[in-house]
Symmetry: C2
Subunit: 292 residues, 2 copies
Amino acid sequence: MVLHYNVRMSVVLDELVKLLSLERIEENLFRGQSQDLGWGTVFGGQVLGQALSAAAQTVPPERHVHSLHAYFLRPGDVSKPIVYDVDRIRDGSSFTTRRVVAIQSGRPIFNMSASFQVSEPGYEHHEPMPEVAAPETLKTEQQLAAEAGWPQSWLERAANRPFEMRPAQVIDPLRPTPRPARRMDWLRTVGALPDNPALHYSLLAYASDHHLIGTALLPHGVSFVTPGMQIASLDHCMWFHQPLRADDWLLHVMESPVARGSRGLARGRIYTRSGALVASTAQEGLIRNRQR
Amino acid sequence: MVLHYNVRMSVVLDELVKLLSLERIEENLFRGQSQDLGWGTVFGGQVLGQALSAAAQTVPPERHVHSLHAYFLRPGDVSKPIVYDVDRIRDGSSFTTRRVVAIQSGRPIFNMSASFQVSEPGYEHHEPMPEVAAPETLKTEQQLAAEAGWPQSWLERAANRPFEMRPAQVIDPLRPTPRPARRMDWLRTVGALPDNPALHYSLLAYASDHHLIGTALLPHGVSFVTPGMQIASLDHCMWFHQPLRADDWLLHVMESPVARGSRGLARGRIYTRSGALVASTAQEGLIRNRQR
């Protein structure tokens, strides 16, 4: 394992990297364990990252993922392994496509399709990165949570995470007030990573499930603490535009164009510090309030 | 069949509606024929609409589609039927999820996942409709093509289509010049339709495959006539926010946030005349020029 900097990988990041590597059971069958982040069910980003890892392990390494589309079907049980069943639906001359079903207790909990391509030059344009404060000048999620007076149990749960997050705006879920459906977060892993490109894609998939659907709640002055709220990711898609490093600062710019019918849609763009657009995201989520 | 207005459905629209209805071979197996639009391979929007129709026919009718995610795997052959194989991956209390594989000559040409939900009220917001000229004040695609001096064979091919399209800007593919990656088109079917909601969703899926990926070409001053250009839809996703009618004017606002690595990403929002946001779209496409 080649590390880039002289930074020791944290235990929780090291554990996540191992979880993403999966156990290969057969050529197209993989088994993964789960990290218990404290809320009983498996974090969606973990399933996303593991499914992408399973797919990538059936694809020649010089073909990088350029898109994925997934549905979250049922909550995952942290106490049981997850089996990832890969269908090699196409091996084309330029593109390779895979379908993956994540299974627990005989039932699909998640399905995904992903496409991989050999690297090719081409036409280039992209939406510029918005003005934003540098990550060093911003407080961490944990600092903001402590200042906002989060309960001790939440602070402990948030203390030890594989990604460091520095929100570019202060959004306090304990005291939600209506605001534009937009947020920006800097993120990077808490330690340096080996060079394997597939690992960086899987880790970004993992991290991209944070705060995305929550963006759809912002105009309505509600959050996950609002009585009666039920919030769940329904789908997730990503487009990867170029190779990236998850252990260097990335800015996730999120906005929600629409909510209706108890669902909200959010989309995002992920930039490097220097303003290169490395990925785009979209997610629809259930935002239901039965007490409303 | 209940028609809304006293408008006779055109032959080509009538044919499309029949093609979307599919032949049911078994509970989860459907067969569709293709419309030859003149370019030899099956129009991607047709496969999208038929796959959505197949999925919807396995779902209780009071559950409407709210999202779909698809990959185009191989070109479809217009001379052969397409078999749609539906996997009932989840029947939940609020949500129903389906996977569909479209097959020709023993090989998958397309795969899709789609999710359906019972109607629920909820939080509402949406990006407003941009300023745009009313469709009646705009020229049709066919008028613009004739004025631009398209070859007679193209004009004949474009003459008889199930959707009427009125672009809100003049974009001449014969003389492409660099411009912002944005376009807006009004669209509606050329005749009135029966009330079946699933038909309207399938028809909008069909129509939404027009011009979307082409938006990614606009900043580069190239088009499908540029020597060496290869343009192909890779994926397609849609989110349906509320019931809609495909036989009344809808505005598809498209923009391309990024192109790189021989791929372009485009996304869109589809509004009614009165400014209600009924659907969102996203598509990545191959935009390759081997002569560049």
